[in-house]
């Protein structure tokens, strides 16, 4: 068990990584305070990816694992991307060539109206 080669490799300072993660979390929570929607979204999701990367790299030691483990995980994400690309034209859009999702449009409309009344 201790014959894992990486057991002898110098490990990052985990506490330092954790501090970075927590700071990032605070930044992403503060995002909405800017009041700029796109900036908030970019911040929130950009930071999520950075955090995921940090955890995967430093806590899960993906970088020390055999290279193909990374490939396996990336392949999973690529396939999910394919799924998204194949489904989005039908589900994410409410109108396309020769079809119209009137039910979804109505839901969006009535939902927005309700909120207008609410405010």
């Amino acid at each position: 068990m201790s014959s894992d080669p990486e057991a002898h490799i110098h490990h990052p300072n985990y506490v330092k990584i954790w501090v970075v993660l927590v700071v990032l979390l605070i930044v992403s929570v503060l995002g909405p305070l800017t009041g700029i929607r796109w900036l908030m979204l970019v911040m929130a999701f950009g930071i999520a990816f950075v955090k995921a990367y940090l955890v995967a790299k430093n806590f899960m030691h993906v970088n020390l694992e055999k290279r193909w483990v990374t490939y396996l995980l990336v392949t999973c994400l690529v396939f999910l991307g394919i799924l998204f690309a194949g489904v989005a034209p039908d589900v994410m859009k409410h109108q396309g060539l020769r079809w119209e999702n009137y039910a979804a449009k109505k839901a969006v409309e009535s939902g927005s109206q309700a909120s207008a009344k609410h405010e």
Binding site: R98, E100, N101, Y102, A103, A104
Partner: protein, 244 residues
Amino acid sequence: MLERFSTGASTYAGSIDHLIFLVAALVGFWLIVAEVSLFWLMYRYRHREGHSSQYVTGEEKHLTRWVTIPHFMVIFCDIVIIVPAILVWVNVKQTMPPAEQTVRIFSQQWAWSFQQPGADGILDTADDIRTVGELHVKVNTTYHFELMSRDVLHSFSVPMFRLKQDAVPGRTITGWFQATRPGNYDIQCTQMCGIGHGLMAARIIVETPEQHSAWIRRASNPALAAGVSLPADTDGSKLAEVRP
């Protein structure tokens, strides 16, 4: 080829039939090549006393070509099929010739109902004709249809027209057809829609212009049309009860 089994009765039936013939010819060729070589090799290299088999790795140049050449031929055939398949598809499903008539098709468990313009030729007016189980269309006229479902998935299929389109609740799906031959044809539901799926039959009646205008006159007059059409204010859920 398909004509032998089912007569085409719409403008695009011919192009779909030709596509099917093309595919049949190409894949038929490959099927025969593959089956013949399979059976010939089985016969030629059957076990006989005194003959032992050869050691072939399958990586020799002069032998691999027996796989690589067919390989490229298959790619070629694929392209030969892909191009007309997409052309037919674009013609039938993507582009819409200008409408001469528009009809709305409602599907529900387990009946087809139709709404089409009355004598004024405009949809959504008081004289719209609503029918159940029977769609009357004029021959050689481009129809646009708006397909809707009231409950579950259905599929509007007219085999003789080579027309098939699923109806999805919450969506309006448009399409078109132009009948070329007067007569009565089946409308099927080809998407499982519950226990009455097998009962969900309707007819599409292709009429000559004279017959069609006579039908519009009759249908617009409720007194004449008892049992054929229903008053315009009847809603779909009641329509279902009319049919057994």
